[in-house]
Amino acid sequence: MTVHKIRLPHFKHSAESETIALPLPSRAVISTAQHLGAVCTPTVNIGDKVKIGDVIADSDAVMSAPVHASISGTVTAFTEVLHISGRNMPSIVIESDGKNEISDAVKPPVINSREDFLAAVRKSGSIGLGGAGFPTSMKLGFDPKEKHPDKLIINGAECEPYITSDYRCFIEEGEKVLDGALLMMKYLDIPECVIGIEDNKPKAIEKMRGLCASYPNITVCALKSSYPQGAEKTLIYSTTGRVVKEGQLPISCGCIVINSSTCAFISDYIKTGMPLVSRRITVDGNIVKKPANFKVAVGMSIAEIVEHAELDGEPDRIILGGPMMGACAFELDYPLSKTNNAVLLFKDSPIYSPSSCIRCGRCVRACSMGLMPTALETAFDMRDAKALSRLNVNLCVNCGACSYVCPAKRNLAEKNQLAKAFLREQTKKGV
């Protein structure tokens, strides 16, 4: 079987910029929906004093992760932030007291068993730092009796243009990535580990190969630089040759995929007990004079962050995440969430107007899931639920490759998303 991929320009301008830790902001707006899954409910009240690392919101749901204060100060308000998904998300506003005190609760967790480890991962507020934000505890909390994974895959493909935060993680904290992987293998009893890195990052591959030399069960796999190499199902196929079936999780074929930055964070948390309150973010784009990587407190305003990268003019397009799968921000004053791995600022960016499909078939050849985006578009335009499910629209991973290659500049990826929503609705109605 061949998995189609496309070639993209890399634009990794910030690859050699060492991560700069930005000073803590005077105000943090922390959304209670930082991840896929259940939205947390605040556990603090207005007027409460909080320190860095204190839990400020949590949920009982399995698919969730607690949210922590990223600065010390006072909870001043509960507000709503218009999330890039278009929904209003409840958020907690903390005004800094300038002391940057660390909570007493921050201490290395004691881990003796698998359960201790999973509880610690849950408590850390860890989510997938690659962009989708799947709660890590959920990923690791498989039922060992049902299906036991034999491969841990560390995702360091970073196939989206511009973004280099995972790359900097390998270069600066490669030891932590390895340590995190070893911890997961130890407590979850996973015998083997593959670290997948695209071959446009030779330094990262070299560094990890050196670190892993003494571990025969950990291999570093140099992946061809092509998009969407880092998509979960594609990565599993590239590194192991296994195919995740429709509607299944990677665990169904014995794999667990963890982003490299998430892996480094878990190692950090087990050592220090400091929950996920800051993350690495790439700032780039055509008006950014100094493309850079910053370590930023969750909840800090994007406007404040990008000041440190020096802008040349006003942006007309702000993208949170990569240019292929990221979303446009409605305003620059938008609080950083745990899932944001990049902020890209563009000016005078081209606006494409779609023209008629010429049936060239480029989208069909680009689709990594082997779908026919142009046929899906026609089926959706006709609201043909049967054709949509026959053409497997639900397999679409929204990588955007079809829209990218389309000479008519049609928004095929968007149509696929709309089609999936339409199909869900139809199924609910029982049609």
Partner: protein, 315 residues
């Protein structure tokens, strides 16, 4: 702060556009145009320019009347014009060529919704309409280099019993439509299109390969089989018409079926039909089958759940 652009992902797009693809096809047709001007004289160029101009004007006017955005900037009308003129004898009266352009652009292309929506190849259909309407004009072939002599001498194509050596057919110095005779120029254009990834080599190879193999089986003579693939409109049809995006299948298996089908029908018409040439009819017939081929060649999705795959059955 200035207004921000909000759009669905992805936020970057490849530099390729419909216009660039059409321009590549036009460039790929230039060697054949040059060859036709050398072989059949300046009237070949005049014919091509008039066809292109008529196609563009018809497209512009039709879109205007239908109150739709103008699409002449995508250059597809010029491609249609060039292909149509290549399918005409150089001596055809100009008004007949204009009628051909009208059929191609207005009836076949725009009446069905414009670029990408037509189910039949405009140039091929126009050629067939002209063929049926003005048969004697459409089948009188000027001798190569006739413009150097004082009187017009007509000849017949190799398929219709004319004498021509293999080298003549390869270089195009035989009777025929103005753009179809020079196999060399058409192959150069085809290779250019394959290298620039505008077309897949599958369709032309399967089309030409099928004709070659079937001729070889029926005649048992390699020379005759080679003549079969060099004669008539086969090269032009296989490289430029059977690879038209709108009217041919999307997937590789589909393209292979399309190519083989075209080859089969061409051979049936050439050997058993009343007409000497069957390339245009074969492409038109396969155009009509394209939606069905597309239906039965849906690629297997990655990790697709096992289910009853009943292609073509939605009910």
């Amino acid at each position: 702060m200035s207004k921000l652009i909000i759009e669905p992902s992805p936020h970057i797009k490849s530099p390729i556009t419909t216009q660039k693809i059409m321009l590549t096809v036009i460039i790929a047709l230039l060697p054949a145009l040059l060859a036709s001007v050398i072989i059949f004289g300046l009237r070949a160029l005049v014919m091509t320019v008039i066809c292109c101009a008529c196609c563009v004007i018809f497209e512009w006017v039709t879109r205007k009347i239908m109150k739709r955005d103008s699409t002449i900037s995508d250059l597809s009308a010029i491609v249609t014009g060039m292909l149509l003129s290549f399918n005409l004898p150089v001596t055809l009266p100009i008004y007949m060529a204009v009628i051909g352009c009208f059929v191609a652009i207005v009836i076949v292309k725009q009446f069905f919704g414009g670029i990408g929506q037509n189910f039949a190849n405009p140039a091929i259909t126009a050629r067939i309409v002209l063929m049926l309407s003005f048969t004697s004009y459409m089948t009188s072939w000027a001798q190569p280099f006739y413009y150097q002599s004082t009187e017009l001498v007509t000849t017949s194509t190799p398929l219709a019993g004319g004498e021509a050596s293999l080298m003549d057919m390869f270089l195009g110095t035989t009777g025929g439509c103005l753009g179809e005779t020079c196999a060399l120029a058409l192959i150069i254009g085809g290779i250019f299109l394959v290298i620039t990834r505008v077309i897949s080599p599958a369709t032309p190879l399967c089309f030409i390969g099928t004709v070659f193999v079937l001729s070889l089986i029926s005649t048992g003579d390699i020379e005759k089989a080679t003549a079969a693939i060099l004669s008539g409109g086969l090269m032009l049809g296989a490289i430029f018409m059977a690879t038209d995006y709108s009217t041919t299948p999307l997937t590789l298996p589909g393209k292979i079926i399309f190519g083989i089908g075209c080859g089969l029908i061409t051979m049936l018409i050439r050997n058993f039909g009343t007409m000497p040439e069957g390339v245009s009819y074969s492409i038109l017939l396969m155009n009509i089958l394209t939606p069905i081929i597309d239906r039965f060649t849906v690629p297997k999705a990655f990790g697709e759940a096992e289910k009853k795959r009943r292609a073509g059955n939605d009910g």
